[in-house]
């Protein structure tokens, strides 16, 4: 205890230097913690978006589709599969989807895109595209009576969804993004044709534009359109025979309120489906690319954290070394009075530990308001991330928000603390190797 008292008093001997060193530790912790929270939040956002629009928490699909999303890798008798899953998980939202790549053509132009064949009512429970139409309707309704300052915002809101979301039994409806509508020069009610390669043949499906949406990310809106599953089912044929597949879809997705115990749930789902031609995957298994991207991001993050950590090590090393050199005579006195070399080292380590602990705690406090800003306001990355804001047609919110990553506290906090101890090893050993008589002669 007296060692810590001595260490604390030594730190307070040069307050400004201690304050600056502590601030360096605090700033590095705060920077890394904020980076971790932001990375954690943005990845969670992408994962949630992908789970909503791509895989569900669980997905039943063709065994090869996770690695190679070919159009012919289908789930036949998909309604049976969906029904079995819904009976097994009555509280879950089960929905079927098919994704078809093709050309959407109007009399004036064509546009290459992904068309997602969905069950509109079920899809509306998990994705947010239909909300754009509801919000736009509400904005239009409020527009006439709205005061001037809010009219511009309402106008923008109203333009995000023209027309309506798809009806469940609509076999000819399609909802397209605003950029596609501009390219094709079409409006609500206009006819378009979806052309897709099926086996060796090019097949066409006539459709009518029911809705035009705008998420705010034009690059994503330019490549995704929605129609009903029944509308695209004729394009999902057996690749060998060219014969229709009974009630096909590309996947049957299951959405839960949470993702606890997914592996066990996947096992139950597989048992319920009981089909050897299908595999049941958790979202982690179904989206290996997403996970790989996440791991690469995390690795780069760790490298960045280590570099910042090294800067901390240099700062603390310099401070403690300076302190050791300044106190050479005093260290000689301490040894003359009977402090063993190990006590001298312990004193330096105690100083480093207090500095590290104080700096880390200060860094934690310092980062909270910035974290709050990033968590509640976020950063609008807009077009900057548009190229990577869709995965197989999934649109993400361009406003990235931080989420509290417990690792920042439980991994980087102790890491910062250990770094300060590491940085003190050299100065501590240098001080403890002095001989009392030489040290006391030092001026």
């Amino acid at each position: 205890m007296w060692l810590f008292t001595l260490a604390l008093r030594n730190l307070f001997r040069h307050r400004s230097r201690t304050l600056l060193t502590g601030l360096a530790i605090a700033a590095s912790f705060a920077l890394v913690a904020l980076h971790m929270h932001f990375e954690y939040g943005s990845w969670n956002q992408r994962i949630r978006g992908s789970v909503e629009a791509v895989s569900g928490h669980l997905v039943v699909q063709h065994p090869d589709r996770a690695d190679d999303p070919q159009v012919e890798y289908v789930v036949s008798r998909s309604a049976e599969v969906s029904g079995a899953l819904q009976r097994t998980f009555p509280e879950a939202r089960v929905l079927r989807r098919a994704q078809v790549g093709g050309l959407l053509a109007s009399p004036r132009n064509t546009s290459p895109l992904f068309v997602s064949g969905i069950e509109p009512d079920r899809e509306a429970q998990v994705t947010r595209i239909d909300d754009l139409f509801q919000d736009a309707d509400a904005a239009r309704a409020a527009l006439d009576s709205a005061p001037e300052p809010t009219r511009e915002a309402l106008q923008r809101e109203a333009e995000r969804g023209l027309g309506s979301w798809l009806e469940p039994q609509d076999l000819r409806g399609i909802v397209i993004g605003a950029p596609v509508a501009r390219t094709l020069e079409v409006e609500l009610g206009d006819r378009v044709v979806l052309m897709a390669q099926v086996g060796d043949e090019l097949q066409s499906i006539p459709l009518v534009v029911r809705g035009i949406y705008s998420t705010g990310i034009d690059r994503a809106d330019a490549v995704v359109a929605y129609t009903t599953l029944q509308a695209v089912q004729p394009l999902l044929v057996d690749p060998k025979t060219g014969e229709p597949v009974p009630d096909p879809a590309h996947q049957v997705a299951v959405h839960f309120e949470h993702e606890r115990g997914l592996d066990a749930l996947a096992a139950r789902a597989a048992q319920a489906v009981d089909r050897s031609d299908l595999s049941t995957l958790t979202w982690r298994q179904a989206m290996p690319t997403l996970l790989r991207q996440m791991e690469v991001d995390r690795s780069f993050g760790i490298i960045l954290h280590v570099f910042i950590g090294l800067i901390v090590v240099v700062v603390i090393f310099t401070t403690l070394l300076m302190s050791a050199l300044e106190r050479t005579r005093e260290i000689g006195l301490l040894m003359a009075l009977g402090m063993r070399p190990k006590h001298i080292r312990a004193m330096f380590w105690a100083e480093a530990a207090l500095l590290g602990l104080g700096g880390t705690v200060a860094g934690f406090v310092l980062h909270l308001p910035f974290y709050a800003f990033l968590a509640y306001v976020g950063i609008d990355l807009g077009d900057m991330i548009a190229g990577s804001s869709d995965i197989a047609g999934v649109v993400f919110d361009p406003v990235m928000r931080a989420e509290f990553d417990p690792d920042a506290l439980f991994y980087y906090g102790p890491f910062t603390f250990l770094l300060t101890l590491l940085a003190s090893i050299g100065p501590a050993y240098k001080a403890s190797r002095l001989t009392p008589v030489d040290a006391m002669r030092h001026t």
Binding site: E330, L337, T435, V437
Partner: protein, 227 residues
């Protein structure tokens, strides 16, 4: 049996290409309870002899035995232990720990020994009172005069009841009155408590007070007089 036995003690320093013989084959016995002054001109080897007796420095040749323990046989850590447990030091330039109060300085050696806080605080207050510093226990060295700081150093040396107190020019930086008071104090402690004192000094007042005066010249004992 002497409390300190020095045999054939030599210490040679190398300064560039030159060798400086600070001590040359010194033989000396100090009995328990002695009040001994080492005198001699600057560079005669007084401080070197004190440092070697205190285990702060290692001899080039010869041996120092303190209470039957040959310092040459001890590791650096064990020499630290011996200084902590059996020796007390009063240095010329006060040498207090600046971040500790007078009481904390006085109890420092006891803290190193692991004495419980309450016990060592009580002892520190007692020795500070003994050296006339009652009421100044909470002052830092910077808030004390030179004489008061040297008294704190004496209190620190006494707090652990050491077998031998080694004092290197303890009055050199004090005015004559303060120096005199300090000598009286140490003499009183020697008489009353039987503490063994070995001084290195030029101060005639210390020499007057000493019961044994050893004169060193060029690293050798020139005279050894008991009063």
């Amino acid at each position: 049996m002497p409390i300190v036995t020095v045999r054939g003690l030599s210490r040679t320093y190398t300064r560039g290409e030159h060798k400086v013989h600070a001590l040359r084959e010194v033989d000396l016995d100090i009995e328990a309870g002695e009040f001994t002054a080492l005198m001699g001109p600057s560079g005669s080897g007084k401080t070197t002899l004190l440092n070697l007796i205190g285990g702060l420095d290692a001899p080039t040749a010869g041996s120092v035995v303190v209470e039957g323990t040959d310092l040459a046989q001890l590791s650096a850590g064990a020499r630290s232990d011996l200084r902590r447990e059996r020796l007390g030091f009063v240095f010329q330039a006060y040498n207090l720990i600046p971040v500790l109060s007078a009481a904390e300085n006085a109890e420092f050696v006891l803290a190193l020994r692991g004495v419980p806080a309450a016990e060592r605080r009580e002892r520190a207050h007692a020795v500070l009172a003994q050296v006339g510093l009652k009421g100044l226990e909470d002052r830092r060295p910077g808030q004390l005069s030179g004489g008061q700081q040297q008294r704190v150093a004496v209190a620190r040396a006494l707090a652990g009841n050491p077998a031998v107190i080694l004092a290197d020019e303890p009055t050199a930086n004090l005015d004559s009155t303060t120096g005199h008071d300090l000598i009286e104090l140490m003499r009183e402690l020697n008489t009353r408590d039987g503490a063994t004192f070995i001084f290195a000094t030029h101060d005639p007042k210390v020499l007057d007070a000493a019961r044994r005066v050893i004169r060193l010249v060029d690293g050798e004992i020139d005279e050894d007089n008991r009063k």
